[in-house]
């Protein structure tokens, strides 16, 4: 790791100030991607601004069907929050399968979505649920937030402060992990709500997380795993690597969708 300056921000405005002062700063939340990258000398920020100690950024609020999760809330806290489990158990289940216990105790939801790893789990949930990402400057709907591989609509220095969504009537996440990394090789988050069915796919698309309209249309007609059979999932636009070809990922999208639908129904 190259030398870097560590700052612990006391508030969001303090974090913004620290970010402005530094030459090439990075926000540090759980650091589950950033720190290993720095250790490999692939990233060399001049300054790290740690936002995990800002009290307002952690915690989960549930008010009726409205859920607000602070950006610095850990995967462990999301996976074990009882109020959240009552209205949106699918998100708890998703969080409970991120990484391993060490990662879940440190990694945060805000860090995960700001990094937008194409194989991360959360982006599929947020996209399918139509969540809103709240920053220190504005609110961004999920479908405008996730732009591509490791790319979001966040501006330089903009800080994600919370995620807000309305808990859907039915939802489930089904993930096929990469055997080595255990990241999603294909993960599908399915939501059924009064405005229809949404199917968001992570781990598979060349451009990161995406919604599959064909699957949504078929499931809108009948919310049943069997509805998936007739849908054609095109391998075009899907990632191909040594662990999974695009064809294989296309097949996995259908299988994971069926399993998610079965779990949600």
């Amino acid at each position: 790791m190259y030398e870097t300056n560590y700052h612990r921000a006391s508030s969001v405005s303090d974090a913004v100030k620290l970010m402005k002062k530094a030459e090439d700063p990075k926000l540090l939340a759980g650091g589950m991607t950033l720190i290993p990258t720095m250790k490999q000398r692939l990233a060399s920020p001049s300054d790290l601004v740690d936002i995990t100690r800002i009290a307002d950024l952690s915690g989960i609020k549930v008010s009726g069907k409205t859920v607000t999760i602070g950006a610095a809330t850990t995967h462990f806290d999301v996976s074990t929050n009882e109020k959240l489990a009552k209205v949106c158990p699918a998100l708890c289940a998703l969080a409970s399968h991120i990484g391993d216990p060490h990662v879940r105790y440190r990694g945060t939801i805000g860090g995960s979505i700001a990094n937008n790893d194409p194989a991360a789990d959360y982006p599929s949930a947020l996209l399918a649920m139509g969540a809103t990402i709240i920053t220190d400057k504005r609110t961004i709907p999920a479908d405008k937030f996730f732009k591509g591989l490791f790319e979001t609509s966040l501006k330089d220095g903009e800080i994600v402060t919370a995620i807000e969504f309305t808990a859907p009537a039915k939802a489930a996440y089904s993930k096929f992990p990469n055997p080595a990394s255990r990241y999603a090789m294909t993960g599908v988050f399915v939501v059924k709500d009064k405005d229809g069915v949404k199917v968001a796919v992570t781990g598979a698309g060349e451009g990161g997380v995406f919604r599959h309209k064909g699957l949504e249309a078929a499931l809108d007609k009948k919310f049943d795993a069997a509805s998936v059979d007739a849908v054609k999932v095109d391998a075009k636009g899907l990632m191909s690597d040594m662990h999974a070809t695009a064809d294989y990922r296309a097949a996995l999208i259908k299988v994971m969708t069926k399993r998610a639908v079965a779990a949600a129904a």
Partner: protein, 781 residues
């Protein structure tokens, strides 16, 4: 056996320090004035070095030295060699290309060491390493052995035309041709044995200390065989003469073969310590381990097996191309030859066998012995072929095997080995019973109802351990003898130290070896210490690999114990005025048989050292040494049965049960043996389902971290059901065969046979990842 003697499940003495974080590994060693090294490595798989500029790096903070291969050569440090001479079938010696510990003109794989930087801290060494400017002229690379043999392929070493190191054969090709003429059926199979990366928990490390006042070197290193390291570094690499070089391999966190070899880093750190005047420590990071630890396997094989009308095997033809990587590592030539082709008779009566092996240079990490070393490759060839033949012939795989088993011993195979003992049917019976083989069809039908594909597969392996009779391996080209040494020191109060040339890096020697002493003298295990891993303490030894520490290492201890026992009895007889032939040793006492006369063990020991009252002419003290050279290999054998369930939608394989029935001869500590079997099978399942090294066309290692190289995790592995059958080994005093590698040798074909049975497609390569299995299912549709 007593509660701590032979056959007892004694808990491992060494585990207290290991599981409480108190182990002392090479990287834990700190000496005054110690500095840190970082190696500048080639980012290219194949390139000529045009220029190395170290000026900027030398000016960086904390830097003490930046040294190149040119300086190393100027100081007379030699090239790294392969220690086993193989001759091609035309009589020409193997073509060993030059491997300079620091590359001077050409780099041949990503990770090839070029420059060492020594600085006050690790970070400073790494910073300065980035400032070393090396100009490369990048050349085309070749990573597959088959491609490297093709005309027009990039050439690695001027010594080896067409990248061919040797073209070697074993067996009688004319006899095989004749056998195939009479065949009623021939089974043909193309097999790839996937390249593996060892991944010991502790990465390699070394600390080189030069003492100018004494002109003496000390090398702490992560070695499975410190004496071999000293021998090779003094005799061939010209680092220092043996009496001026002490090699210490303290606690070592796993080796699996990869820590047998002498790597560039040990040599360079020792030399750099003299050059810079400071002790130099280097610790590999995990990426360096992936790139530079010797890899394993990487064979491409075509096999043909001929059967007569009654399904008796008539002959076997094997043609293998083995990838040895960019340079020949220490034992790389032996692994695909005498540790491979000599096991191609399997457990079977095969009248005629011919094997042809070509070894090849490629722009990849050097390949050498890895847990099993040649024998997993041979077993995979044999047991995939037997299973395939049974399917083609429409007979049960158990019947086909049983019908062809060797049943009388000794049995001379057509490929050198003479099997001395075994009962292959007993292991097969035990495994079939434990796995409820007969009930499989019912389980398969039940799984099918749930949409799952069940399969069952077996593997009847035999391997050769206890390497090896020195004269025999010498005649086959080995540069060393493969005996072992031991010294038993009885202290004045009767406690015992056993010095052994074996090296424990996870095997539990400190427990097992002590059990021999407890068994013999009846003194508690707590009073016995095992000393190993230091060339200043143990005079000489050949180290631990090839499952040899039991059969060879413990046999040497037994020989030394014999001598101690004889002298102890003489002393006791003298003290009790009895005939030494009447002395028996029991529960820590020397007794006169048939009387109540006795002398406690400690009192006899004290008498040996006070020397006040010894038999006339006897030297004081009680310390004996022995060298043991085995008269034959040992032949562990067994039967593994694996039952799997495949999810046809995703290609995921779940191992439902894994049954191991092994014949290791006599067993000293069944708990440790079971642990070895569990670990070995874990590695075998890793090879079969998860692990595979991938280089891209340009020679970049794609699987250079755990993000992409899939090591087995606990939830990938089933609970094993293990049992032991026993035909004692006739060639060593304990009747033991060795158990360290069997699991890794026997398990891969059982897994693949089970999956191919489940999916109805025999064309499936390792690792059988979900993608590979899904593809095979699609292809069969």
């Amino acid at each position: 056996m007593g509660i701590e003697g032979i056959g007892a499940r004694v808990l491992r003495k060494e585990d207290k320090r290991f599981i409480t974080g108190k182990g002392r590994y090479t990287d834990d060693m700190v000496v005054p004035g110690m500095k840190h090294a970082h190696f500048v490595r080639s980012p290219h798989a194949h390139a000529d070095i045009k220029k190395i500029d170290t000026k900027k790096a030398m000016a960086m903070p904390g830097v003490i030295g930046v040294l190149t291969g040119k300086e190393l050569k100027a100081d007379g440090i030699g090239n790294i060699i392969c220690g086993w001479m193989i001759h091609s079938k035309d009589g020409s010696p193997m073509k060993m290309g030059a491997w300079s510990p620091l590359a001077t003109e050409t780099v041949r794989y990503v990770g090839d060491a070029v420059v060492i930087v020594v600085a006050d801290t690790k970070g400073q060494a790494r910073d300065a390493a980035e400032a070393v400017e090396i100009t490369y002229k990048v050349k085309k690379a070749v990573v597959s052995a088959v491609d490297a043999l093709k005309s027009g392929a990039p050439q690695l070493h001027p010594e080896a035309e067409n990248n061919l190191i040797f073209d070697w054969e074993l067996g009688d090709s004319k006899a095989v041709d004749a056998a195939f003429k009479n065949a009623a059926h021939v089974t043909k199979l193309d097999i790839v044995n996937n390249r593996l990366i060892p991944n010991a928990m502790e990465p390699r490390a070394t600390l080189g200390v030069y003492d100018g006042a004494e002109d003496h070197y000390t090398c702490w290193t992560t070695s499975q065989n410190p004496h071999v390291a000293r021998l090779v570094m003094s005799a061939f690499y010209n680092v220092a003469p043996e009496n001026k070089l002490r090699v210490i391999a303290p606690d070592v966190g796993g080796g699996f073969g990869s820590k047998i070899y002498i790597y560039p880093e040990e040599i360079v750190c020792l030399w750099a310590s003299k050059k810079t005047g400071v002790p130099v420590k280097w610790n590999s990071d995990r990426t360096e381990a992936f790139l530079t630890d010797a890899h394993g396997r990487d064979h491409v094989t075509h096999v043909e097996m001929a059967f007569d009308k009654s399904n008796k095997i008539l002959g076997l033809k094997v043609d293998t191309v083995a990838n040895l990587g960019a340079y020949m590592s220490l034992f790389s030539s032996a692994t695909p030859t005498y540790l491979y082709a000599t096991l191609l008779s399997g457990q079977y009566n095969i009248p005629a066998i011919h094997a042809n092996v070509r070894t090849v240079y490629t722009n990849t990490a050097p390949v050498d012995a890895y847990r099993g070393a040649g024998r997993p490759e041979a077993t995979f060839v044999m047991e995939r072929t037997m299973e395939t033949a049974a399917r083609e012939l429409g007979v049960s795989p158990t019947d086909l095997r049983r019908q062809n088993f060797v049943t009388s011993f000794p049995h001379q195979t057509p490929v050198i080995m003479c099997y001395d003992a075994g009962d292959f049917g007993a292991s097969l019976d035990a495994a079939m019973k434990t796995s409820d083989y007969a009930g499989f069809a019912k389980r398969k039908a039940k799984a099918a109802k749930e949409g799952k594909l069940r399969g069952i597969g077996m593997s009847c392996y035999i391997e050769a351990c206890g390497i090896a009779p020195s004269a025999a391996v010498g005649s086959l080209g080995a540069g060393v003898g493969l005996w072992e040494s031991a010294e038993v020191r009885v202290n004045a109060v009767g406690t015992v130290e056993v010095l052994t040339g074996s090296h424990s890096h996870g095997q539990g020697h400190e427990t097992t070896f002590a059990q021999l002493v407890t068994e013999r003298f009846g003194i508690p295990g707590a009073n016995v210490n095992i000393v190993h891993g230091d060339t200043d303490k143990v005079q000489m030894g050949m180290g631990t690999y090839g499952s040899r520490s039991g059969a060879v290492g413990m046999s040497a201890i037994v020989k030394a114990l014999d001598k101690v026992e004889a002298k102890a009895k003489k002393i006791a007889a003298h003290l009790m005025e009895a005939d030494e032939g009447d002395i028996i040793i029991e529960n820590g006492e020397l007794k006169v048989a048939g009387t109540d006369k006795k002398v406690p063990w400690f009192q006899m020991a004290l008498s040996a050292y006070t020397a006040h009252n010894l038999p006339s002419g006897m030297e004081p003290g009680l310390k004996e040494g022995a060298f043991y050279d085995p008269s034959n290999f040992t032949f562990p054998a067994g039967c593994y049965i694996c039952e799997v369930e495949v999810d046809p939608d995703t290609g995921t394989t779940k191992i439902i049960q894994f049954v191991a029935a092994d014949d290791f001869g006599n067993i000293i500590n069944p708990m440790i043996v079971e642990g070895q079997v569990h670990g070995g099978i874990g590695q075998g399942i890793g090879q079969a389902l998860l692990e595979g090294a991938h280089y891209d066309e340009s020679g970049q290692l794609l699987t250079a971290s755990y993000m992409d190289y899939c090591m087995p995790r606990a939830d990938d592995l089933p609970s094993y059901q293990v049992s032991h059958q026993c035909t004692p080994c006739p060639s060593n005093p304990l009747g033991i065969k060795g158990c360290g590698e069997a699991g890794a040798i026997g398990s891969p074909p059982a897994v693949i046979n089970a999956i191919t049975d489940a999916i109805g497609n025999n064309n499936l390569a390792m690792p059988a990842t979900p993608l590979a299995v899904w593809n095979a299912i699609q292809a069969a549709r």
